[in-house]
Subunit: 220 residues, 4 copies
Amino acid sequence: MITNYHKEAFAKLSEERQNFLLDIAIDEFSSKGYKNANINVIAKNAGISIGLMYKYFSTKEDLFLTCLSKGMTILHTTLEDVMKSNDKLLKKAERVIRASLVLSRENTNYIKLYNEITAEKDGERAVALAKEVETHTSTIYITAIAQALASGDVRQDLNPRLFAFFLDNLLMMLQFSFSCEYYKERLCIYTGVNIDELNDEEIVNQLLKFVESAFTFEKN
Amino acid sequence: MITNYHKEAFAKLSEERQNFLLDIAIDEFSSKGYKNANINVIAKNAGISIGLMYKYFSTKEDLFLTCLSKGMTILHTTLEDVMKSNDKLLKKAERVIRASLVLSRENTNYIKLYNEITAEKDGERAVALAKEVETHTSTIYITAIAQALASGDVRQDLNPRLFAFFLDNLLMMLQFSFSCEYYKERLCIYTGVNIDELNDEEIVNQLLKFVESAFTFEKN
Amino acid sequence: MITNYHKEAFAKLSEERQNFLLDIAIDEFSSKGYKNANINVIAKNAGISIGLMYKYFSTKEDLFLTCLSKGMTILHTTLEDVMKSNDKLLKKAERVIRASLVLSRENTNYIKLYNEITAEKDGERAVALAKEVETHTSTIYITAIAQALASGDVRQDLNPRLFAFFLDNLLMMLQFSFSCEYYKERLCIYTGVNIDELNDEEIVNQLLKFVESAFTFEKN
Amino acid sequence: MITNYHKEAFAKLSEERQNFLLDIAIDEFSSKGYKNANINVIAKNAGISIGLMYKYFSTKEDLFLTCLSKGMTILHTTLEDVMKSNDKLLKKAERVIRASLVLSRENTNYIKLYNEITAEKDGERAVALAKEVETHTSTIYITAIAQALASGDVRQDLNPRLFAFFLDNLLMMLQFSFSCEYYKERLCIYTGVNIDELNDEEIVNQLLKFVESAFTFEKN
DNA sequence: GATGAATGAGGTTTCATTCAT
DNA sequence: GATGAATGAAACCTCATTCAT
């Protein structure tokens, strides 16, 4: 994301203080959702006045977008780090799957924030958000698959854009399934076990098989 | 869903009138989201007083749940109709994919409603919703795959529960991608075309290839 | 009470049906208070339509007043029966105290209704209610005491009106203390025992001593 | 009362402003009753916004309880001041009766508030209120009577708890009779005079005689 | 820069009463 | 006589945002 949603005053704060503030806001937004989150509560939890909050961010929405920006940067950086290796596509896929799981465990809040925006109802806002959040990652996936296609590492009848789309769909759902309440329960229903009895390795292995075959084998 | 969320007075209405009312409510909920939806607006749009609205539903939440119930019944019925055929699994998969696309085009609102609940933040409510919405469908998918496994129609190293999960993940994302604003834009970003230029057939074909190979081929 | 607060249609009902209806209304009014009681609920509990309810009573207030009228008639009849004996005043007092206790146990709802009106805030309504409810009983007490005064059965320096007032104060409080939630707890606090461990006989005996001495002995 | 029912923001106000606010609220509650009182009206009368009102008190009930707390503190303080003298019991009784009359004249609203809670229908709330309001005063009365009993100042066959109860019953009724609409009219009916023609001194004298004899003389 | 008191529009819910059938 | 669907004013409460200090 290029655009800034905070005011100048926020930029002047130490990075540490910025992070402190945003983490508290992210806690509120990810646990209550955008509409139910309360700016006054965020300010109180952060130990600053509501007045100062509005010196940093013009509106509740701007605060949310700044939080989202931070969250997405971290999620994307992780995934992009994995993708920029020289590994073959399927090796990258394995690593990206494992990384997604780790992210879900360690950055639950950011994923919940991400989940929050996917339910955005306002068309224009949804378009703007999607453009900011999805453009970069999609390019990375598409490029990687296109390269693999060129190298003959994957089936030749795949459409790189759509296969990238399907892969990311699976990754998104994996992340949501380990982070967001509804999807967590849904995962339990599918696996038939309690949330604390999930066998991560089995899930990763099966997903890998699924993806690997999908990308590799061509029906004749 | 077994439970009822409406009052007796609502049950006494003609089916036509019930549907009329719910459709208006679903319009509001799916276009604004639960929290931003306004019961007064729904009542006004339906041409009834707010008092009568509360004769039909005890709370805003009950109205929403009744809408959701209607929506999910329609979505599930469609998919289950497809799944109960005697076709082989991959044939069923193809039909279920095509059906999902049709649903997205024709029952956008119901899918938006479904999308709305996946962002539920309250743990207990999320669990309850997921149980009501996911249990039945998941069983159908899992059973179908288990049968295919027994018949030797699919790769023998797959875990039916997890492969059902991955398949449904792809189907959910497909539906969301044709219904919900954010996901629609995301699909455009991945495919690189405008929303009205999407090539449905290409998407279906590619997804079929993806799924088919995933389910069929076993790496040695 | 002379005035009627019901419509003609109510008078045409059988006495049994009238009582049935009023008892249900009294249940609601005495358990929730006037303002919190719900006419629609009363109608439903009575198994009649709200429309019919309004054929019987013009307003919620009229229904309440009719209930009150019934309750007060019963309470007053009981006390007046006791008072019209030829016993001496203190014998009457003893019997009226015991009768009050029995009323509290057996006609709790009527006493709660009585309690409800003592909190009436509207001046005019309060005056009207008090006139209807208190006039007759007060006369009976005052007359009895005046007679006892003339007979020399009680101290000669008492003012019959005020001693009647004090006596009735004690009786009212006794009845409230065995019927109304707040006063029940207050009685427990004063006696130091739980509500179900109250020693009725001790209370009656002590109150009798209190009243007896108050009425009998004259300081010189 | 120990517990606080206001928010921090209210505590920060000057005592003057707190009293100003509470007096306006007490006016509303005592003139209309809890249920009919309107917070918006209170706010408007106090010249503050409804939002600010809710910064001070979380709910209508909390506002009411704060009013009640203020009222009860004043009533209790007055009575307790009288009771902590070294006078003999009957002297104390006289002073407490006179004080009750003064309170009724000067703190009508607080007594109306007290009256309001005695009609509480909700069992749990009634118990809680009674405990807070009655416990302290009852102890004072009971202790004073027990001491008088030990000193031989009163009849030896009295039960201190019950005689305290009867005494307080008479005091409560006295206060209500000079403050609350219904009880005022009832007093007029008993005395046979108009409200503005009441002979306070006669009432006090007669009540004193009543109480004095009740406490002093023992039937043989 | 920093505060936090203050605002008030807006949303959900209740219920006495009406009236067409 | 009897019904009960329908009304809508009114009340409580929330929270993003402003602004004087």
